[in-house]
Symmetry: C2
Subunit: 401 residues, 2 copies
């Protein structure tokens, strides 16, 4: 994208600059650590003295740890190696799935320190009941984390639906049967709570954990089909927070009616219900295992259904590529599992419908269905790294469970 | 989009901060001027003394003008009113159209100070010949601008084709018959030259001149159909610079073959050639006038052709809206002229295929075919406002025609 962003002049105060530099030190250690103070100074272009002062503050507030003297592998005196703290703040990620609930606690180093899950069919259950169970899982992993000396710095929840931008409100999640559910009214974490669409958080997990370069489209599916668009390392959310509704891109404009009001939407060809119907199967819970098994066994109907879904995905993604020119397309969620049977027809459509010199790389997520949950936990970690001063001292009071 | 951008620590030097604050003062006067020094200080949150020092530098380098004492309409002493200079740097915008060439000079206040155009059919002419004629127009408006005391600060050229990102190279412009044409080799303006797709520059004109809020899709057409995606006030360019190829979004996947290699692309239904064919017309030059006249007269074939084009545009844009959730869609270029006959069917498709609470505003550009040329000139003005220190003193040497 073009054009600079102009920070308000207030950002250029000594305080604003120090806050940015604290964040820069933390991110540098996160990306390249363990590092000595001198190595940090070298990387970010500040003096050794300035970096030492920043590091002292970050150690004092429990974000950095001094690991002690490191071996001298390079020129100069060996420095003391800095690492992110494994006893500082942690991020709690949680997920409302159609057929499961989950929560994890992840420390600043990115290690999963606690996990709790429940297999449960959430379709049509009252949101309050579902969210009370989710809160119990969150509190369980939060308790485990605290017992290990960690401080939960926030809770991020992944949901399979549209979330109104900058709110806690799920506008609709058709596969749960939710409309206008304010998670803030059910989950007692106050301002420490954030809520986001599962495809968005899955995309952020690819970006942060898998090193996918910052211009890509992440496609995922549970029952519906969602996508997330990442541009220059940032999520494109859209005016209302509704961007990424790949499932409702028209594939055949006179095709089958879709509950959204349109016709021939991608979901009518590649959504799980359509897939099962086309394969002549019925399944409870997650059907991708059954579909994959049938296709692997050579079942012609299953293979045909997956081939047709790949074609429809390729058509919708060809439009996406012509519009957005991403560097890569990542198939995530349950699509990752089905990829071997989707890819040939998907790639064929994509190749013939996009410019030869502009066809993006097509990859399959290694995180698969784990992506959204990990992305949620890491989104909390990122808020700590981006604004370390928001978490000094009183940090634990920000999380009020 | 989410997530902060971290400026490198070097940006936080005194020099970097002063440069940003100079830009902030200029943008404030550009957006809200004429303003007194005190009013500028109030708006940007710096002290009066700091602003005075910044203003002195901007007056010395010819970017701001002191208009003298303004009437006291508000509390306090009347201040001296500041305005952008009308004798400082100017931007040169130029355009290679399929059937015309044009150049304008625009001053910092946004006034067009010189203009030169030539009606000429550029289809299949050698790029060198076309660009030599364009250079002559550019030099003519540059000469007029200099005679009025302006300093051309750069030249931006709009082209109806794909431009490789951050280069001067038109990768392809099918309607001109160009492939891999490096405008830098033909236009003698060195680093003062920039080249961009006409839909991109048309979109920037809507953003900067018409005050369209910064999340929209701008659709334009000359022979082909192009679009530009603006997110949070910035152009989404894509990995290779190829974003916005709305004309090759599949509308009916088994539809007519498209020269791009796909089938049923939007251009096969709503491009000018398809429109003329469907209306049973042949036209030289710009056909939208003829089409519009026929439709206005009640010609059933012309109306049917435009209705079908509107339907196809609506289907392709429904996909776009589901993916990007823009605040508005702006019809520009020759589509603006045809809008009355396109809009009913376009709106119908868009409404039925996008969520009720997410349908964007659909507007028609008032700049029409003027947009890209004005956007080009203003893109030069913006580089001056964004980095005033790049244009001090030696500015005139940056433009070496």
């Amino acid at each position: 994208m073009s054009g600079p962003r102009r920070p308000p002049a207030a950002e250029n105060t000594q305080q604003g600059i120090r806050r940015r530099n604290l964040s820069l030190v933390l991110h540098t250690v996160a990306d390249h650590g363990p590092l000595s103070r001198a190595a940090v100074a070298g990387r970010i272009g500040l003096t050794r003295a300035a970096v030492s002062s920043l590091v002292d503050e970050l150690i004092r507030t429990g974000l950095l740890t001094d690991l002690g003297l490191e071996q001298s592998g390079t020129v100069g005196r060996p420095g003391s190696a800095l690492s992110l703290s494994d006893r500082g703040p942690c991020g709690i990620g949680a997920e409302v799935g159609v057929d499961h609930l989950a929560a994890v606690a992840v420390d600043l180093r990115g290690r999963v320190r606690a996990r709790a899950t429940a297999e449960v069919d959430n379709r049509g259950r009252p949101a309050g009941t579902v969210l009370a169970e989710l809160a119990a899982l969150i509190d369980r992993v939060g308790g485990t984390a605290r017992a290990e000396g960690l401080r939960p710095a926030g809770v991020a929840v992944a949901v399979p639906g549209l979330v109104a931008r900058d709110t806690h409100t799920v506008v609709r999640a058709p596969n749960l049967g939710w409309r206008e559910v304010d998670l803030g009214a059910h989950l007692p974490y106050g301002p420490a709570l954030t809520v986001d669409n599962e495809a968005n958080l899955g995309a952020l997990a690819e970006l942060w954990l898998e090193g996918v370069p910052g211009d890509f489209v992440h496609v995922s599916a549970e029952i519906g089909i969602g996508a997330a668009v990442v541009v220059e390392g940032r999520l494109l959310r859209g005016t209302h927070g509704f961007a990424g509704e790949l499932g409702h891109v028209p594939v055949r404009p006179e095709g089958p009616r879709c509950p959204c009001g349109g016709r021939g939407c991608l979901e009518q060809y590649a959504g799980e219900e359509a897939l099962l119907r086309a394969a002549g199967l019925t399944a409870k819970g997650r059907p991708e295992g059954l579909l994959r098994a049938r296709a692997d066994e050579g079942d012609p109907a299953a293979r045909r259904a997956l081939r047709a879904a790949g074609t429809a995905l390729g058509i919708a993604l060809a439009g996406t590529v012509n519009l957005l020119d991403p560097r890569a397309i990542v198939l995530g969620g349950s699509l990752a599992r089905l990829a071997p049977w989707l890819l040939p027809s998907l790639e064929r459509e994509l190749t013939r419908r996009t410019p030869q010199d502009g066809t993006p790389a097509l990859t399959v997520s290694r995180l698969g269905t784990e992506g959204p949950l990990l992305g949620a936990a890491h989104s909390v970690i990122r808020t700590v790294l981006d604004d370390p001063t928001g978490h000094r001292g009183g940090a634990s009071t920000r999380y009020s469970s």
